[in-house]
């Protein structure tokens, strides 16, 4: 009232009075309350009244006293006030709308605003003032903005602190602002002096410590029920995996730890909250879904099931399985089922089983790779099925198919020549006659110019704003001519440091890596990739870990990332290998870069180099005796 009177006097021309303002946040024109530090607004007064809540134990502004006279916070006050059973969700929670005229009580979570056409945006959505002539949706509802005391942007304030209003991004950042306190040296949240340049913790500044986790005591942005994100994640993961019993099955303990040690707890919390994979995991924990590959194969949500499969494999719940091989077998079965007539289907099945898949299994068994390359097998099976369907549409059985029919098929498109493998196999097994089919022409493709290559390499080497993943992968393409599929499956053990020099092993020998590429590689190993997802192991053997737990990034994804930066892997690789082949003999090139000898010779010829006298010249130079 005194403030209102002062405002009225000022409005009527008083030059001696000044508007009363909060001594802490500086806001004027609002009711002020007397505090030991001077007049303060309601929010600042509440902040000064921070204490330990008798119910939740969190130090925060206290709202009132409970029935026993103990002081409690606003959250606990709301939690303990009258609660009834919601007529929609059935939970006993605070009620937003009381039961009336036959409609049940509705809790705050179930209550929805009435829908209307928003008078601002024109969309039909939930609106305030829906019954009036000017409904406004929550997005269009006006919000008071103010200049943020930290960033200066004019945004709705999330809090009003002594330094002034603070917008939501700055508020979140300030709660997470941790560092060594200039007074005590401990790594804590820095709060004083107010503002982005705070250097002292609350304890040393004599300010009540707020927003501390009730479980681990860390000063951080709290997520739920007075707990930080990490403690909330552990609590929710335990809840999910224990199926309400409180005890996690022993075989799922590895998965539990993998979830709890997620690099980004918020991301893992979102995964637990709304992913189908989490639903599957809960079903497995409760025993309603068996923890087997077959059960996951049969699930309709394939991506969620695959993600969970990798998580369970890393956690030791499921045995490792060649997923690409298994997936190709399933895909081949579905493709062959559509082949008509039955005789052709039988031939196609025999081809897929005894030629393509057998070859694929042998290939997978020979070389231990994180992924078996199945694209060629896919193309062969698809070509066989398409060819048989084409014959069927013309009423020609495979047994009587002639060279003219095969030629007509080859004329249908450039991919038709993929049928060569099938027809060779079918002729060898007496299903048809022998055909003369040309091999698919191999195009050499274009190479990036050396100027383009060096410009891109210079950007990758010196632009610190780029992601280390892109920098390292791009340099391996442009400087060492590596294929994306090989880069994607590189392990951290391929990068070593000896005598302050970083070496990378691409073939039989370690290759010294010049700076700053060495720094980029070591930084990549040290920091890892930031987006490793939920359930990924804390330490990955892969230099480029992927999104799937325990798996490296895929070559296609790596290619997409490089394409965004203007790097086209095939053109860049050709340019690099052409340059290197012109400088090195093919044998050295093959050893250093892990190329097949014939491939190295091919690149040498492409580069126009002639190293046929290299050995003789070397012997002569070093005075070797025959």
């Amino acid at each position: 009232m005194a403030g209102r009177l002062a405002a009225e006097l000022i409005a009527r021309g008083s030059a001696t009075l000044t508007p009363a303002a909060c001594t802490r946040c500086g806001r004027a024109g609002i009711p002020l309350f007397l505090t030991p530090a001077g007049a303060a607004c309601k929010a600042c007064t509440a902040r000064q009244r921070a204490g330990s809540c008798a119910h939740c134990g969190v130090v925060k502004p206290l709202a009132c006293r409970d029935g026993q006279g103990q002081r409690i916070c606003e959250r606990c006050r709301r939690h303990h006030r009258g609660q009834r059973e919601c007529g929609i969700c059935g939970k006993t929670t605070p009620i937003a709308v009381r039961a009336r005229d036959g409609s049940p009580d509705i809790c705050a979570n179930c209550y929805r605003l009435p829908s209307a056409v928003c008078s601002k945006c024109g969309k039909y959505r939930e609106c305030n003032f829906a019954a009036t002539s000017r409904p406004v949706c929550p997005s269009c509802s006006p919000r008071v903005t103010a200049a943020c005391a930290h960033c200066g942007n004019d945004r709705p304030p999330a809090a009003r602190w002594p330094e002034g209003p603070v917008c939501d991004p700055c508020y979140q950042a300030a709660l997470r602002h941790r560092g060594p306190c200039s007074a005590c040296g401990q790594v804590r949240r820095l709060v004083a002096p107010p503002g982005p340049h705070a250097s002292t913790c609350a304890g040393c500044a004599g300010i009540p410590v707020t927003h501390t986790c009730a479980s681990c005591g860390i000063e951080d942005k709290l997520y739920e029920k007075g707990r930080c994100e990490r403690c909330s994640l552990r609590r929710r993961a335990r809840q999910l995996l224990s199926a309400g019993t409180g005890t996690i099955p022993s075989h799922l303990s590895g998965v539990f730890e993998a979830i709890c040690t997620a690099r980004v707890p918020k991301s893992a919390l979102n995964w637990l909250r709304r992913s189908h994979g989490a639903e599957l995991l809960a079903a497995m924990a409760s025993g309603t879904l068996p923890a087997t590959h077959e059960a996951l194969d049969a699930h309709p949500r394939r991506r969620a099931a695959d993600f969970l499969r990798h998580m369970l494999t890393v956690g030791g719940v499921l045995p490792p399985r060649d997923q690409a091989l298994a997936r190709t077998g399933q895909w081949a079965g579905s493709v062959i089922e559509a082949v008509q007539p039955a005789a052709s289907r039988q031939v196609a099945r025999a081809y897929a089983t005894w030629q393509v898949m057998r070859r694929l299994r042998a290939s997978a068994g020979r070389a231990a790779r994180p992924r078996t390359y199945t694209a060629h097998a896919h193309r062969n099976i698809h070509a066989a099925a398409s060819f048989l369907a084409w014959l069927h549409s013309r009423g020609i059985p495979l047994a009587v198919c002639g060279q003219a029919d095969a030629d007509a098929w080859l004329a249908t498109g450039p991919a038709a020549c993929q049928v060569r493998d099938f027809l060779s196999w079918a002729a060898a097994h007496g299903h048809c006659q022998h055909f003369t089919l040309p091999a698919r022409a191999r195009a050499d493709g274009t190479a990036a110019s050396q100027e383009q290559r060096w410009a891109l390499a210079a950007r990758l080497l010196h632009d610190d704003t780029l992601d280390p993943t892109d920098r390292a992968a791009g340099c391996l393409v442009l400087l060492y001519g590596q294929q994306l599929s090989r880069i994607a499956t590189m392990t951290t053990s391929q990068v070593t440091t000896r005598a302050d020099t970083v070496h990378v092993c691409l073939g039989d020998h370690d290759v010294p890596v010049p700076e700053p590429l060495g720094l980029i590689l070591t930084e990549l190993i040290r920091a890892g990739r930031t987006h490793a997802d939920t359930g990924s192991p804390a330490a990955s053997p892969w230099l480029f870990p992927g999104m799937l737990p325990g798996q490296p990034i895929t070559a296609s994804r790596l290619g997409q990332r490089l394409n965004r930066m203007g790097i086209y892997a095939m053109a860049g690789r050709r340019a690099a290998l052409t340059d290197l082949a012109a400088q090195l003999p093919s044998a050295v090139l093959a050893d250093l870069l892990g190329l097949a000898p014939n491939t190295a010779v091919h690149w040498m010829r492409q580069a126009g180099g002639d190293w046929s006298r290299y050995a003789a010249e070397l012997a002569q130079t070093r005075h070797h005796q025959p």
Binding site: A2, A6, E8, L9, I10, L17, A20, F33, A39
Partner: protein, 82 residues
């Protein structure tokens, strides 16, 4: 009818005079704000919505005469609760 020393009629035998309280408030406000009494009276009348408000405001200004100048003071509902 009982009157106050200024001649205002009193509503009851034990009740202080509201008109005297308002006059005192106007004088105080005019002095602090350096405004004519008429202008201060208009401001006071805009704020005083009930006798209870007048009593509370008079009490608060009586306890802390500098409240208007400094924008601080103690009035019902102040923290800490007494």
């Amino acid at each position: 009818m009982a009157c106050c020393p200024s001649g205002h009629p009193l509503p009851g035998p034990a009740r202080p005079c509201a008109a005297c309280r308002r006059d005192a408030l106007i004088r105080h406000a005019a002095g602090v704000a350096a405004l004519p009494a008429v202008v201060a009276a208009a401001a006071v009348d805009a704020v005083i919505t009930s006798p209870a408000v007048l009593r509370a405001l008079s009490g608060a200004l009586g306890a802390d005469p500098d409240m208007l100048a400094h924008g601080r003071g103690r009035w019902p509902g102040d923290w800490p609760p007494s």
